[in-house]
Subunit: 331 residues, 2 copies
DNA sequence: ATCGGCTCCTGAAACGTTTCAGATCGTGGT
DNA sequence: ACCACGATCTGAAACGTTTCAGGAGCCGAT
């Protein structure tokens, strides 16, 4: 492996000069610079990031840990974060906890060993324990898609209670009185909050709510929940799902059973992923600004890594209802 | 930042002993070991991966660079690769070139600076230039979703010509004679091969083929292509798309224009992503074993990094047609 | 001629590990 | 009493960078 020493020897300069050519080209004379550059080219020298980082004491990457990369929502979050990081010359390594606490812990440990510049985290549970290391070492971290008290860390989230209420009100307005909610694992704050928002919206309306908890937040879990839903009696006339993947699964179950959507069963999803609009029956969904979420979180994190220590803040975006065929009222 | 030295001092041992406790616990006496471990716990020592890697000369991570993480197909590829890597105690960092050569080059450069253990690459173009560094340094790389001559590198791919033919034959069998192909950027080998397979299948059948090149391989590009398709006259009766995202876009355009699928326009996609089955009209698609692709590629790479230098190989999987509503013949 | 102030370059220290040759100590065999 | 040996630990070197104090050479002003 060719190192800076080899380049220095071959170009007849000191290693300090080679380093300067690479990092502060202006301080070295033009003639020397071009000679060194051509040797670098000739030998195919590539600087060793680990040595660089060891010396610098901090790395040039940020860690991003999301709940589920199989959900296009988080892919968009990641895109937004990456965009913001690149704008500052930093790289992001994205990891997928798959909603498993032990994987989350293992990735966070990896981030710590890598001495990442900062961590973006959409946590499974509270994860207080796993974050101790970052707190002690002063590595900043920002919660994504989960609100946190500003005393602990900055966070960027979308108001899930409002989102749940948005879906609930919409179903009431479209005339439904027997409503089901297909929720994901209650360990996730998002799921709890959406359910709470829905309950609030339905309170006092006289509407009847059935809650089904799905195993996961994915399409198969949705199919499964859909099948259970078909077995309940009296059958609800509308179902609100904690995310679009679940909603797509429920929709498949309905289509498979010959239940007409929205006539016999209206469906509302959450996230408004790209595929919601392309579904068998285009899905009404609660839209979240995924990309913006990621970008803002990364920007907050970048601000915290700068020398000027800014205030921590909890940014909360507001979701928006997108009405499509799956809840359309037929006259 | 607490380092191995601090632990050593506090525990009253040498740094060598601390290192041994962490890396080869069996060589240190039980009493010492537990004393050191409790100091590690107390001080919150986390070893510095960059120093470790600098000393070791090689890292514990593999790089994976895919064409588009917005495509669930590649998310599955990444999952498969990650699974195989974890089984060997390695981490994977996944990056997204978004089909942009310059981003591809930049990520590959990053991999080189990180001294990754190996590289999994689904290349945009041939990228011969960018790979020179890896060739010189002996860093193994494996092509994913792209066949390569075994003389250059191992590769794991799916037979795209066969896949194109599969779709073509299916459309012929279901009675279509005016067929459109919505292709992605011709720079991608996958796109060229699928088109070629389709052409081969149609050859001599008397069927007429129209090829539209989409700007990207995503849903909006598909919508755009769909709109163009609606303007052609005589209008084809079937359209084959280079991937499912395009197909979903085309489908949206058809639904939006009131064109019935499959009666007035049959649609075949490619990849069989999860959302294909949940689409407005469930999509017939050419299925690829995405997860297996990633897993196999990672295994090949791992084998090449082991001391026993195995033969390079070009693994080629065979795609499979999944017939759904979008090409169903109505009687 | 001398000196201050440039510009350009050198050499060495430091970053936090791992590894390895050897030091030390106790034990059991002769 | 001596030796060989294993078990356990130490101390220093090495990995490839960046950084920084300072040295060398040169120019223009005094």
């Amino acid at each position: 492996m060719v190192g800076i020493k080899d380049v220095a020897k071959r170009a007849g300069v000191s290693i300090g000069t080679v380093s300067n050519v690479v990092n502060r080209p202006h301080v070295v004379a033009a003639a020397t610079r071009s000679r060194v550059l051509s040797v670098i080219e000739e030998l195919g020298y590539v600087r060793d990031e680990s040595a660089r980082q060891l010396r610098a004491g901090r790395s040039r990457v940020m860690g991003l840990l999301v709940l589920d990369l199989g959900n296009p929502f988080f892919v968009d979050v990641a895109r937004g974060a990456e965009q913001a990081a690149h704008a500052e010359g930093l790289n992001i390594i994205t990891c997928n906890s798959g909603q498993r606490s032990e994987l989350e812990a293992s990735y966070l440990a990896m981030f710590a060993e890598q001495r990442v510049r900062g961590v973006l985290l959409s946590p499974v549970a509270t994860s207080g324990e796993a974050l101790r290391t970052f707190r002690r070492t002063g590595t900043p971290y920002v919660f994504v898609d989960r609100k946190a008290p500003a005393s602990e860390a900055s966070s960027v989230s979308v108001d899930d209670v409002a989102g749940g209420a948005l879906g609930g009100r919409h179903l009431l307005e479209t005339g439904h009185r027997r409503i089901a909610f297909v929720n994901g694992p209650a360990i996730l704050a998002q799921c709890r909050d959406r359910e709470q928002g829905l309950r609030t919206a339905l309170a006092g309306s006289g509407a009847e709510l059935t809650v089904l908890e799905a195993i996961g937040l994915d399409v198969p879990s949705g199919r499964d929940a859909g099948a259970r839903l078909l077995g309940t009696s009296p059958r609800p006339t509308a179902v609100f799902c904690a995310n679009d993947l679940l909603a797509l699964g429920v929709l498949q179950a309905m289509v498979g059973a010959g239940v007409r959507v929205p006539d016999e069963m209206a469906i509302v999803g959450y996230d408004d992923i790209e595929f919601a609009a392309a579904a068998a029956v285009p899905l009404t969904s609660v839209r979240q600004p995924a990309r913006r979420l990621g970008r803002t979180a990364a920007e907050l994190l970048l601000a915290e890594t700068s020398d000027t220590k800014p205030e921590r803040q909890a940014v909360v975006f507001t979701p928006e209802l997108v009405v499509r065929e799956s809840t359309r009222v037929r006259r």
